[in-house]
Symmetry: C2
Subunit: 133 residues, 2 copies
DNA sequence: ATTGACCTTAAAGTTAACTTTAAGGTTATG
DNA sequence: CATAACCTTAAAGTTAACTTTAAGGTCAAT
């Protein structure tokens, strides 16, 4: 089995060495084996674990939530817990979409109304923001 | 004309006194008049300015962008500039919506596939995150 | 044997947008 | 006149998720 030092793992995973050490301190990555000279030695599956972290981040999970998911995996925990975490994430995402969509509607309408010419005084954009709600 | 000290302005606007001073340092609020005892004295329109800031924040503008908009207003600058700033903001919001919608689709589909029962091993949620793309 | 590219740790810096703390002056009330 | 509730400034702390710096040990190549 191939093993990697931290620089090689960094190159394979696209995660900076310092970030990998940070994940270790934050208990997202397990303490790796060490060489005689105290260098970290990673097994191949460390790449997959880092990619899991990257993807979960892209999905909007916080490191805290990712740590929970990884701990469930490591402990072969309860699937219901993972579902709860992911469901909460889905709810958050849906709220964000709703909120952004409302803003998008008003902002795009406002931009259509603004010619983009003339002085600031009476600018529909400014007036839309200044509007009480 | 009524004037306010910072605590009254805070109560009227819903923005904490310290945040108001912070906005002053950050050039979002103009340096106010002072009493003999060096207390800040605000005119009524300070309330509207703070509300403009609050609303712009709700629309997702950064303080930096809000400062730009306020400077344009204060200088009675060019409406085209305001339109550019708002257009960029609209683009950002649309990208966020797109990105979140993609995540929402995959995540909700994954959640449907996961019974929420049994051990983590083989959990569709974990597998969906671990998936290469 | 020396250079350069790695690796180690611990600690401090980054960003945004504040909040909190510290140490003290002022004003209103009983 | 004392006490509480204001106000002042400057500086440090907060959060997330790292990055950067400092000071030094190790390894591969020339």
């Amino acid at each position: 089995m191939k093993t990697f030092n931290i620089g090689e793992l960094s190159a394979q995973s696209g995660v900076a060495s310092h970030a990998i050490r940070f994940y270790e301190r934050e208990n997202l990555m397990p303490d790796p084996a060490r060489t005689q000279s105290n260098y970290r030695r990673y097994p191949e599956d460390a790449i997959a674990r880092l990619q899991f972290i990257i993807h979960a981040k892209q999905w909007g999970f916080t490191l805290e939530e990712i740590r929970e998911l990884l701990m469930l995996q490591d402990a072969n925990g309860d699937r219901a817990e993972a579902k709860r975490i992911a469901s909460e994430q889905l709810e958050k995402i849906r709220h964000q979409i709703q909120s952004l969509s409302r803003i998008e509607a008003v902002l795009s309408k406002t931009l259509e109304e603004c010619s983009g010419e003339g002085p600031m005084d009476g600018c529909p954009i400014v007036e839309a923001i200044a509007q009480e709600r």
